[in-house]
């Protein structure tokens, strides 16, 4: 399938006792079907293949980016992993257990934040714990910890509509962390923010992840964002979405300073390569 996989994967699965730690996606496919009903029978009127033979791994503590043009199925893939949509084939496992639907060891950060507008910041962050039936004082204490972690101390009683977009997404991230999930799924989390806010949040996400150590699957169409935040960048082709290339980033920016990482010539070179990989596709379409 033309996937360049580096030896990294093999090294990981050779670690021994629990080779299935983290997220493993193998052979996932998805097609959208339009159906018509006629005389009590259902006919498929058209079929659009959006994902074909998707295979990748996100070991614990690693960030994997799904990079590709709009409409390449990357958000669909994220929704399938989250359990919000059904795949047509293939298997997904998280820490060795098959993923069949939403579960408490996964958390989603939504592009448009998805905060509950009638709850204040602290209650939004505590929402997943409320679903778990955690007693009030305990969940508030836990939520306060994550509100602080994302830098929103002092805003606990504010409602989402009184916060800027960047602050709303901080709430979204804090809520996702509240259950301490092993996998964080982020759907273009900074796509709805202005450029400066996006850069600040990218850097803060790096420092948060270095403290929490979750695995992350990040959907993005920004090359810079993918290179800055990930260990592995999966480049998607469009329709049907396939993984064209898997590119390892030698050193994730959390290990060096993010500001330095943005301008390092090494990264600029990777960004240039990725841009070319994405362009191949456009030229083929044109």
């Amino acid at each position: 399938m033309g996937v360049e996989t580096h030896s990294h994967d093999a090294a990981n699965s050779a670690k021994g006792v629990s080779p299935q730690r983290g997220l493993v996606v193998s052979g996932v496919e998805k097609a959208y079907r339009t159906t018509v009903a006629r005389w009590g029978r259902k006919y498929v009127s058209s079929e659009l293949k959006v994902l074909e033979d998707i295979n990748f791994k996100a070991p614990p503590g690693q960030v994997v980016s799904l990079l590709g043009p709009s409409g390449c199925g990357k958000t669909t893939l994220l929704r399938i992993i989250a359990g919000l949509a059904q795949g047509d084939g293939g298997t997904i496992t998280l820490d060795g257990r098959p993923v069949v639907g939403p579960s408490k060891d996964k958390a989603v950060v939504f592009q448009h934040f998805g905060l509950l507008p009638w709850l204040d910041v602290i209650s939004n962050v505590a929402f997943p714990l409320r679903l778990d039936g955690v007693p009030h004082d305990e969940r508030i204490a836990k939520a306060e910890h994550y509100v602080k972690l994302v830098g929103l101390a002092g805003f606990e009683k504010h409602h989402p509509h009184s916060l800027s977009g960047g602050m709303q997404q901080r709430v979204g991230i804090a809520r996702a962390l509240a259950r301490d999930p092993s996998l964080l799924l982020m759907d273009e989390p900074f796509g709805a923010l202005d450029a400066q806010t996006r850069e600040i949040l990218q850097e803060e996400l790096l420092s948060i992840l270095s403290k929490t150590g979750n695995s992350v699957v990040l959907v993005t169409h920004s090359i810079t964002e993918a290179v800055l935040l990930s260990n592995t960048v999966l480049v998607f082709s469009t329709l049907p979405g396939r993984i064209k290339h898997a590119v390892e980033i030698p050193q994730r920016a959390s290990d060096v300073s993010a500001a330095a990482a943005r301008t390092s010539p090494e990264r600029k070179e990777i960004e240039r390569e990725l841009r070319e990989m994405l362009r191949e596709d456009e030229e083929a379409v044109a």
Binding site: P102, G114, H161
Partner: protein
């Protein structure tokens, strides 16, 4: 990160004595001043013209005031009010509970919606006054008939608003519930219901004002008692001033209930207004 905005609660009046407002500015700044002046002028006009007219057709404010004292002192007014409120409160409670339940069920289940919407639409389209003789036939002239008439008008805006509220819940909010593995009950309780609350409250407010109409209509046609009974009785005996007392009480009841519903709406559904302002 900037500090939380401290809301400025004490306005600063600045330096100096301030400028005296012109009359036009005063009227524009204090709406209740304008309302008060308007009411006083209207009362004067009414008092002046009312005294010159045949008392069978028209009365005047001081006569209404005297009639009010008389009716209150005899206990007739309070008795009428209580007779009206009983069936009204029962009818509203039934309308709110069953209206919300039906609206939720219709909004959540397509099959249930299809099964029920012919009746909801048909009943809602029939002017309910047309059903009053039938209701009397079935339920007699007592409290039951009154309750049924109140419910028949008040329940529909609550059903329809609850249904639209459930349908209006944005997909992304339902996704949030699913993504955090909420059960069906949790997603109803923590997402659908609060998201639909602004619609439900507006439906209850509409239901209250329609319910008052239903209550008066019921009292006109069934056992003639309560505030509607007072209106009919004194209307038929040409005691116009006493009739006006009951009309004012009904009007006040409407204003108080609507204001109370709006206060609850502001409390439980304020997020929607502030969200809209932001957009």
């Amino acid at each position: 990160m900037r500090a939380p905005d401290s809301k400025q609660t004490t306005p600063s009046f600045g330096e100096g004595a301030g400028r005296r407002m012109s009359i036009a500015e005063l009227l524009g700044t204090y709406p209740n001043l304008v309302r008060g002046i308007s009411l006083i002028l209207f009362m004067c006009f009414w008092e002046f013209t009312g005294r010159r007219m045949d008392p069978i057709f028209m009365t005047y404010p001081t006569a209404v005031f005297q009639a009010a004292i008389g009716l209150a002192a005899s206990g007739e007014l309070l008795r009428g009010l209580l007779q009206s409120l009983g069936p009204f409160i029962i009818g509203m409670a039934i309308s709110i509970v069953f209206g919300i339940a039906l609206g939720l069920a219709m909004g959540l289940s397509r099959v249930f919606e299809y099964a029920v919407d012919p009746y909801v639409n048909a009943l809602n389209a029939i002017p309910r006054v047309a059903l009053v003789p039938l209701i009397i036939l079935w339920c007699g002239l007592g409290v039951l008939a009154k309750v049924v008439i109140v419910v028949s008008v008040a329940i529909f805006p609550i059903i329809i608003n609850t249904y639209s509220g459930v349908r209006d819940v944005r997909g992304v909010l339902l996704d949030v519930g699913n993504a955090y593995s909420a059960t069906r009950w949790q997603s109803l309780r923590f997402i659908v219901l609060p998201a639909a609350m602004p619609f439900i409250m507006a439906g209850i407010r509409l239901g209250l004002s329609l319910g008052i109409i239903g209550m008066i209509v019921a009292e006109f046609f069934t056992a003639i008692n309560g505030l509607g009974g007072i209106i009919v009785e004194y209307g038929n005996t040409f005691q116009t001033a006493k009739m006006f007392v009951a009309i004012f009480v009904v009007g006040t009841m409407g204003v108080v209930l609507t204001e109370a519903a709006m206060a609850l709406e502001r409390r439980w559904a304020s997020w929607r207004a502030s969200e809209r302002n932001r957009e």
